[in-house]
């Protein structure tokens, strides 16, 4: 798969599982290696889900704090290994955020506008082309369930069966959402 933002390994390429074992023992260097390994993919994923880079960084931090807090419960034998567990926590963080955001939507209308105006892609780094801007807007218009499957697949590179397991839906449902998301993106891009 694509995964232009595949996890970047540190010079010493220890496996996730061995680093998790070290982390359980309180080794914060192992934690740092894991954070660096998944930072790009995780922040990009959260950014696409919540539309704000600042919020994505915050959720990224919360994700790792949860990892540290619950690393004792992590079962390496469970499907997908550490990466699936990590993305599951991140997805839950994003969902929690949207749930609370939904409750306070009216109160936070102003914040939404700020988030939209923030337009992370605009005004910094390389200039996004019109086509890329179109794609960004198209992604924002995708239904949450479809967007989650598409982004999980792209940024985590997990297997579809692992994604379905993570989201708690049948494999065919996850695949159907993936297909619909891609079709919808194409359709929105052609407008």
């Amino acid at each position: 798969m694509p995964n232009s933002v595949a996890p970047t390994d540190s010079p010493v390429s220890a496996s996730d599982e061995s680093l998790v074992t070290l982390l359980r023992g309180g080794d914060m260097q192992a934690a740092e290696q894991l954070v660096r390994r998944y930072r790009e993919a995780l922040v990009r994923y959260l950014h696409r889900l919540c539309r704000s880079e600042q919020l994505a960084e915050e959720l990224h931090q919360q994700t790792w704090l949860s990892v540290l807090e619950h690393v004792g419960k992590f079962d390496a034998a469970a499907g997908g290994g550490f990466k699936a567990w990590l993305f599951r926590i991140a997805t839950n963080k994003a969902n929690d955020h949207w749930r609370s955001w939904g409750r306070e939507r009216a109160a936070k209308e102003g914040m939404r506008l700020i988030t939209e105006n923030e337009a992370p892609e605009a005004g910094h780094g390389l200039e996004a082309t019109e086509q890329q801007e179109k794609l960004r807007r198209a992604i924002d218009q995708l239904p949450e369930a479809q967007k989650q499957v598409l982004m999980l697949r792209y940024y985590s590179n997990l297997k579809f069966v692992e994604i379905a397991q993570m989201l708690g839906c049948p494999l065919n449902t996850a695949l159907g959402r993936m297909h619909k998301a891609m079709l919808k993106l194409k359709q929105l891009m052609e407008r």
């Binding site: 798969m1 694509p2 232009s4 933002v5 309180g26 914060m28 934690a31 740092e32 954070v35 660096r36 930072r39 790009e40 922040v43 990009r44 950014h47 880079e53 960084e57 990224h60 931090q61 790792w64 704090l65 540290l68 807090e69 992370p120 892609e121 910094h124 780094g125 390389l126 200039e127 996004a128 082309t129 086509q131 890329q132 794609l135 960004r136 598409l150 792209y154 297997k159 579809f160 069966v161 494999l171 065919n172 695949l175 159907g176 993936m178 297909h179 891609m182 079709l183 993106l185 194409k186 891009m189």
Partner: protein, 198 residues
């Protein structure tokens, strides 16, 4: 073969997606490739899907390349790890409190009822020692028949007052002491209490 063929009827795109992702089992993959050689429509759908997928993935790749994250990897990672260290300190500082509590609970369970029973016994003995409570057994009525000094025929032992009055009557009847007034019974008093056997 029949299995993957029947699945293709209802779940065409999902099966093709799994094929493109190389996530079909070896047997299913072989079956599907066999069907593809003979089914032009399926081949067409597969190519459309492959094209759609690479278009979307390429678009996302370009979008990410054009929009680098504002916060650098180093800063972001350091910030996260700093917070993790802080949380770790918090978690370890919580541990001794839990340890103290657990050491208190470390006594064997049987100690608690035993200690309670011992405390009750000591308190009762203490109260008995200073005379606050009387441990003399008070037997039920039916049991008294077995004991001579509680015999109903000698009711004087039941009541000290009745006993004194009876003594005075006996002394008077044997001339030892004159009663200065006749014995009068209260309405509620049992005459049998004043009777004697002799």
């Amino acid at each position: 073969m029949a299995d993957i063929a029947s699945q293709l009827q209802d779940h065409r795109e999902p099966i093709l997606l799994l094929y493109l992702a190389n996530e079909l089992s070896v047997d299913d993959r072989a079956d599907l490739e066999r069907i593809l050689t003979s089914d032009a429509s399926l081949r067409h759908d597969l190519e459309s899907l492959r094209s759609l997928q690479s278009e979307v993935e390429g678009g996302l790749e370009d979008l990410d390349a054009a929009t680098p994250l504002r916060t650098s990897q180093d800063i972001s990672a350091r910030r996260v790890v700093r917070e993790m260290r802080r949380l770790q300190l918090e978690l370890t500082s919580r541990a001794p409190v839990q340890l103290e509590a657990s050491s208190f609970r470390a006594w064997p369970r049987w100690v608690y009822p035993l200690a309670t029973a011992a405390a009750i016994i000591i308190i009762v003995l203490g109260l008995w020692g200073v005379g606050i409570i009387d441990l003399t057994p008070s037997l039920p009525e039916q049991d008294r028949s077995h004991m001579a000094h509680y015999d109903d025929d000698v009711p004087m032992y039941r009541d000290q007052f009745a006993q004194e009055r009876l003594q005075r009557i006996l002394l008077a009847s044997f001339g030892g002491e004159e009663l200065d007034h006749p014995v009068e019974l209260d309405e509620t008093e049992d005459p049998a209490a004043l009777q004697t056997n002799g």
